[in-house]
Structure formats: structure tokens, C-alpha cells
Amino acid sequence: GAGVSQSPSNKVTEKGKDVELRCDPISGHTALYWYRQSLGQGLEFLIYFQGNSAPDKSGLPSDRFSAERTGGSVSTLTIQRTQQEDSAVYLCASSFGDRVLLNSGANVLTFGAGSRLTVL
């Protein structure tokens, strides 16, 4: 697609429920990132995909959080047994990941509009 698409744009759920957030990156972008933006906080890194593999998942807050990417394209971030502190905007971004392109600036991130999660 023309941009990074995220769904749902808004999700309200009850504490203890599971949620899935979806990210559809720009076609051809091999790198995909998930970040979390809480009120008054910066962008917290969650996980990074290069193709279908995740070289770095060090930012996932707990084992309730997981993410996968299939076909080198769509990614799903799953939060199990949601807690109120999970309320935030979850941002997805994608870029070219090829080292050859790095110096050309083609690895600039393109962000989606985010999925706002509210846990009651």
C-alpha cells in the first residue's frame, strides 16, 4: 500500500481480555518496528522484525506481549490478559532494511497512524 496501515485505530477492552493489533507495512519494506507511546512518555521500543525474524525483541514488557510477522509483510502484536497499564498508542513503522540502502537514507521509518488501546 501507499503507507503503513494499522488496525484497529481504536480499541477499548476490559482488563484480562486478549487483544490483537495489526500492522500492514509499505510493500517492499523488509524492516518492521513496534513502539508504544504512553501519555506523557516517549516512544518505547517493543520489537523489531527483519523479514519474518525478530533479531531484537528486548523491548517487550512481559511475556503477555508477543508479535509475529508472516510472509515478510503483515505483523500482529498480541497482548494477553490486558492490564490497565497496557493502555497506550501502539505505533508500527516500516523501512527498507537492506544495508546497501542505509547510506542512501532509504531506511527512514514510515509510521502508521497508530492503534489506541484503552484497557478499562
Binding site: L43, R99, G105, L109
Partner: protein, 114 residues
């Protein structure tokens, strides 16, 4: 591992005044540096980037930043701000690697007073 520090969480300035938003980074290897901007109720977009070469880089909307390797800084500046510059600004760093995450600072909220 790399890290980014934005020392100022909020910067209030008067319209047409100059502004500097500070960013310092830490990394054991060479890095790429970025500034992203998030306008109210909008998504993040790239303001400018440093990849290599000239240490002074110019971005959109009259912003510029200077890479200082010895001070590990990448401060953002604008000589005269406008109301429309009201936004949150994020500094980001990525290490020289084909498989490397991008880390963002905590952001600086720039508010412009008329």
C-alpha cells in the same frame, strides 16, 4: 547498545525567537541520527537525518541540526519559530548495522507563545 537522551521535556519559546532542542546519544559504534516530529493529532514524520558527510544537516520547515561526534550530540535548531512549529520532537539513533533497531528519546514538547 545505544541510547538517546533528550534533556528537556518541554521548551516554551516566543514566536520568532530562536530555539535549540538538545539531544545526546550513547553508542559503542558509529550511528545514524534522526529527528522526527509529531504535530498535534498527527503521526510521526521525519524532520531531518544525519547519515554521513557534512555535520550540519538541514531539514524541512527551516530546521537544522549539527552532529558533534566528540560531544555525542545532535541538537536541533531553528533561528525563528512559528506557531505552526508547536509539536513534539523526537531524536532517534540507529547503529551501523543491517539488523539494528532504532531507539527514540523521550521527546521534547515545543510550545510557541504569540
Amino acid at each position: 547498545a545505544q541510547s538517546v537522551t533528550q534533556l528537556d521535556s518541554q521548551v516554551p519559546v516566543f514566536e520568532e525567537a530562536p530555539v535549540e532542542l538538545r539531544c545526546n546519544y550513547s553508542s559503542s559504534v558509529s550511528v545514524y541520527l534522526f529527528w522526527y516530529v509529531q504535530y498535534p493529532n498527527q503521526g510521526l514524520q521525519l524532520l531531518l537525518k544525519y547519515l554521513s558527510g557534512s555535520t550540519l544537516v538541514k531539514g524541512i520547515n527551516g530546521f537544522e541540526a549539527e552532529f558533534n561526534k566528540s560531544q555525542t550530540s545532535f541538537h536541533l535548531r531553528k533561528p525563528s519559530v512559528h506557531i505552526s512549529d508547536t509539536a513534539e520532537y523526537f531524536c532517534a539513533v540507529r547503529q551501523y548495522s543491517s539488523a539494528s533497531k532504532i531507539i527514540f528519546g523521550s521527546g521534547t514538547r515545543l510550545s510557541i507563545r504569540p
